[in-house]
């Protein structure tokens, strides 16, 4: 299989556009489903709004983010949107920490761990390739040593734990469905950040991550080894040699022809003599250049 063909064959979870679509759908599902549950209870409009603010504000903002980046405005200010997302997750992490301090709960603790992991993953991915990476000297950060795939694995495991614990504690089907949506959101959101990190590795942006670099290096070595399988390089060398020989023959013939026309003594030029003449000329040039 050629390199170009290999590049195009990607799994669905490796395609950024597909992952973004899934995250958007999941966020939409979370908001609609949680509000549909709220609407069944006897809450006033203001209480419903407060419920959105308390429980779903993060999902609303991230949904807006994924909608904005589809448009030209979002693509142009992609780095600004990412910075806002990093600050938002920092704030959410702090509030999760405060919630834990006020009332410890295993689910809250898991959410805090997930938020911390996502915040670190985002800050070490979205700021790469920007001016802020150098200004804040992020290449010296210890979290930069962690592979992008490790962050995704951590979030995956924590989300799975979150789902399992919620399944055990939840008494209704609606709670189960909502928890499933939220867990999948965490996983796919982390996947989106991971895919961006992989993309940045591919274009070599401020990478100081030995894990990803080794993978890329191995990939390059393997593909070069496949092409240097004896045949292709030898063919290329032979073809080039033949072309050069043909050019030399043509030049020789023309010079001989010119010699005959002008009545000069025939000069038979050997390929090795031509090369020797060329070398001599090059040496003379170098010597003259040295003297100057």
């Amino acid at each position: 299989m050629n390199l170009e063909e290999k590049k195009e064959v990607r799994s669905w979870y490796d395609k950024p556009r597909f992952v973004v679509n899934i995250v958007t759908l999941l966020l939409f599902g979370i908001l609609v489903y949680s509000q549909s549950i709220s609407s069944t209870s006897n809450l006033t409009g203001w209480e419903l709004f407060r419920n959105i603010m308390n429980v779903n504000i993060l999902y609303v903002i991230i949904l807006l983010y994924f909608i904005i980046i589809r448009f030209k405005f979002g693509k142009k200010y992609f780095n600004y949107c990412n910075l806002f997302l990093i600050l938002l997750y920092f704030f959410v992490t702090m509030t999760s920490l405060l919630s834990i301090i006020s009332s410890f709960d295993l689910l809250l603790f898991l959410v805090l761990l997930i938020n911390i992991t996502l915040f670190i993953q985002m800050s070490h991915t979205f700021l790469r390739g920007t001016v802020s990476w150098k200004e804040f000297k992020m290449e010296r950060s210890p979290f930069n040593e962690i592979k992008a795939s490790s962050y995704f694995a951590i979030v995956f495991i924590l989300s799975a734990l979150y789902l399992v614990i919620n399944l055990i504690s939840s008494g209704e089907f609606s709670g189960v469905v909502l928890t499933l949506f939220i867990s999948l959101y965490y996983i796919f959101f982390s996947r989106y950040i991971y895919l961006y990190s992989v993309y940045l590795d591919s274009i070599d942006k401020d990478k100081d991550n030995s894990g990803n670099f080794d993978e890329v290096k191995d990939r390059i070595v393997n593909s070069v080894n496949e092409s240097i399988n004896g045949e292709k390089i030898d063919n290329f060398v032979d073809n080039t040699r033949d072309k050069i020989d043909n050019v030399i023959d043509d030049v020789t013939e023309k010079i001989e022809g010119m010699g005959k026309d002008s009545g000069h003594k025939e000069v038979s030029l050997d390929k090795s003599e031509i090369k020797a003449v060329k070398k001599k000329k090059k040496k003379n040039k170098d010597n003259n250049g040295g003297e100057e």
Partner: protein, 110 residues
Amino acid sequence: MDMFEEIEKQKKDLPRIKSLTNEVQKYDLNIYQKFGVLILFIAIVVGIILGNSYNTCTPSITYGSENCISQFDFSLMLEVWFAGIMVGFLFFGMGHIVYLLNDISNKLKK
């Protein structure tokens, strides 16, 4: 084309912090504007404190569970922030009006 490749072609880089600070330092604020900015910062801090102090109970409607988990009250924090922004902008606007009136009187004196 890959989504990230499209974005890479169009995206703008973030501004440097030094250029931002230089831009901010150009402006001289009078006492009313400084007071307005101070109110904004106070509102942010008070909002966070109140949101943490008066926790909200996540109702059973969202998780389908009968247990009540007290969490940070975002809605209260946003209400305090909104009030702080309104008052802060009010003072900031008053300060700007004072600045403009000063400017006009200085030009008339000339």
